[in-house]
Amino acid sequence: MQTVFKRKHLLGIRELEAAEITHLLDTAETFRDVSRREIKKVPALRGRTVINLFFEPSTRTRTSFEIAAKRLSADAVNISVSTSSVSKGETLLDTARNLEAMAPDCIVVRHSMAGAPHHLARMCNAPIVNAGDGAHEHPTQALLDGLTIREYKGRIEGLNVAIIGDILHSRVARSNIYLLTKLGATVRVAGPGTLVPTEFADLVEQGLRIEKRIEEAIESADVVMILRIQRERQDAAFFPSMREYAVHFGLHPEHLECAAPDAIVMHPGPINRGIEISSEIADGSRSLILDQVTNGVAVRMAVLYLLARGNHAGLQKARVEPVKNEKKQHKGSKA
């Protein structure tokens, strides 16, 4: 397979070419089989070290990256830092530089603030994988969604995809919008006016359609993506109540009647049952929520494999020359 992905970091989907995305998905497909074997391990990254640096609570993504690293035989180290302790003490940059001094081959970063991985990519030497930064991007989530769609639809080009919910605060929505439109899908979005700013229509060159009602977005959709209501990220009330949200913007079985007959339903998790998605759908036959999780491991294996193989310079040079420990000669002694 020819290497199309030559980047040092994976910070977002927006800057990727369609060919790079396809290459990542193809690579992920080859790794998907590993998880289906009895011995779920290949030696691809033996002797490499991956650090999962999580500044935000996460179960799924952190575990997924850890399992991905281990199935590639890399040594995975997990670090969870609560944002509050960071604000009291060490800066993000210092934390990362200290970790870098231990010569990791890749640092996976999750942070509540947009741009934090870019900051590290600029200042550090190790490859950086963005595992979600604020409301900016979550590239591996979009890749695993793309992989799941490809698995069940055979293609992405030409599909109609509806994305429903809190677009404003969603890094998953952004990364998916880029990935899907780059690969030729048509994307429509819907949600409360407070969470779907009209400027989103210009997010990508080909434009997005913003619908007021979720029925309009779902009309003949091949894929319906539901976003999580991120109660923790909302510093103000964007809608009157969970009850009203569930009634007007939650996905119910009758909504799917206007979708394509073989439409699939996705959700990045964790789901708020009965709010943005009804349990009948979440647990129903069209739901691919758990397939998404399975594909997450394959996608992260592909990303780690492509970034941590070690084309980078390794440890940065010390600023002060260390003492050379060659032959010790006593300068003072006479020959």
Binding site: M113, G115, A116, H119, D133, R174, F200
Partner: protein
């Protein structure tokens, strides 16, 4: 002490002078403009300005000098050094120091530190409300006696229309201009950049243009109600500028300033999360930038002011959300203003008007911004052809937070003169002056 600035091309919009003139300064003040060949006193120092432009000293209405309280970012002395190196002979220091300049002791301290530095004139701006808390009026009368030139709660916009009305009415009695940082906090809270396409792409919380526009309109309405002199700081939006335009048409005493970064960069500059593109008001979208250029051209904008806001490198090395707002600007502003001249947006006379003539009027700085007889001998010497590169590692400011490092410019200040004393001379001034003389001599 006599200083003759000879052989220059003098631009002084305050008296419609645009001609080859010699300028004589005697005992700190302007003694007169002389035609070439007019007799001059025998004993004098001569500054040869052959091929250079001689203008009234530039006045920056909006700087943060951080002293007292945050001397690790800037001191009055380092800020004044950066000012004169950038061509500014006077700077007006915003009151958001620690403590806030809401009492005469702080005002006098700032003035004294400025005098000790002996570089640019440092004019303090007093707080409009106590502690800039937006609740009680500051002692404007006492502050004026101590030497403030205007009042403002810059950085912490006066939150309610009621409080702003009081401040305007009270300031009017002391003939003090009220300077407002227009920003409705209920719309801008938590925002770190301009709200629009780029804030959505970057996932950063935006500050809508409406936050500035609503407060600008409010202030214009209150200017009418109170008759006060109101100056809108660092206007960055089309709507705020339109409000000022309408207010001027109605004859209200409303003025405004624009900062160079706002007409030079757009919100797209934030794309790499460089914290040196984070300031308040934020870099705006191209439509707003276009409106600023219109305002600079058509006279709606009164002044160019830097909003020089030094921050320590450690503070700017944080995540974008965490880093403080603001960039330095004293040493790059005139270069960026020359970009407007070379792009044909404004001419050189208008540049002088924006940097000297009008700022003096906005704060009623008597005998400044002009080269009439008896005015203070403050002069900015410009070379419109000077090609130079800004290197932040050589900045006189204590801070390094600028998005303009390594930017190349055509046109800049080569000398600054305050009260007849040369306080800044370009490091290569001798070569520049020699080249100018040689160039002119070679012409028939």
């Amino acid at each position: 002490m006599k200083l003759l600035i000879a052989n220059g091309y003098l631009i002084d919009p305050s008296q419609n002078v645009n001609a080859d003139k010699n300028l004589l300064i005697e005992d700190e003040r302007v003694a007169g403009l002389l035609d070439r060949g007019e007799p001059v006193p025998q004993e004098k120092e001569v500054f040869d300005a052959t091929g250079l432009v001689v203008a009234p000293g530039f006045i920056d209405l909006h700087v943060h000098l951080r002293e007292p309280g945050e001397e690790y970012k800037e001191t009055i002395a380092s800020g004044a050094a950066a000012a004169v190196a950038g061509g500014w002979t006077s700077v007006c220091a915003m009151p958001n120091t620690d403590p806030v300049n809401d009492n005469p002791a702080v005002t006098r301290f700032i003035i004294e530190q400025g005098q000790r530095a002996g570089l640019a004139n440092v004019f303090p701006i007093g707080a409009a409300t106590k502690g800039s808390g937006g609740k009680e009026l500051a002692e404007m009368g006492e502050l004026k006696n101590a030497g403030i030139v205007a009042v403002s709660d810059d950085g912490r916009p006066v939150p309610t229309a009621g409080m702003m009305r009081r401040a305007m009415e009270y300031a009017r009695g002391f003939d003090l201009t009220v300077v407002d940082h227009c920003q409705d906090p209920s719309l801008s809270a938590g925002g770190v950049m301009h709200e629009g396409r780029w804030s959505l792409i970057l996932g950063l919380k935006g500050m809508p243009a409406a936050a500035e526009e609503i407060d600008a309109i409010r202030d214009c309405v209150l200017a009418k109600l109170t008759g006060a002199r109101v100056h809108l700081a660092h206007v960055s939006t089309r709507g705020a500028l339109e409000a000022v335009r309408r207010a001027k048409e109605q004859g209200l005493r409303v003025t405004c300033e624009v900062a160079p970064h706002h007409w030079t960069l757009t919100d797209q500059a934030v794309a790499e999360y460089d914290t040196n593109t984070k300031m308040s008001p934020p870099l705006r979208s191209p439509d707003h930038v276009g409106a600023l250029l219109e305002g600079l051209r058509d006279g709606t904008v009164d002044a160019i002011a830097t909003d020089h806001a030094p921050h320590h490198a450690d503070e700017k090395a944080l995540e974008f959300d965490q880093a403080p707002f603001g960039i330095t600007g004293l040493e790059t502003a005139v270069g960026l203003a020359f970009e407007l001249v070379h792009r044909g947006v404004i001419d050189l006379e208008r540049l002088v008007e924006l940097c000297a003539t009008n700022p003096a009027r906005v704060f009623s700085l008597e005998h400044r911004g002009t080269l009439r007889g008896r005015a203070w001998g403050d002069v900015t010497i410009l070379d419109p052809d000077l090609e130079w590169t800004f290197d932040v590692s050589h900045s006189r400011s204590k801070s390094r937070n600028t998005p303009f490092d390594k930017r190349t410019f055509k046109g800049g200040a080569v000398a600054s003169i305050v009260a007849g004393r040369i306080v800044y001379l370009h490091p290569e001034f001798k070569q520049i002056a020699a080249a100018k003389r040689a160039e002119l001599a070679s012409k028939p």
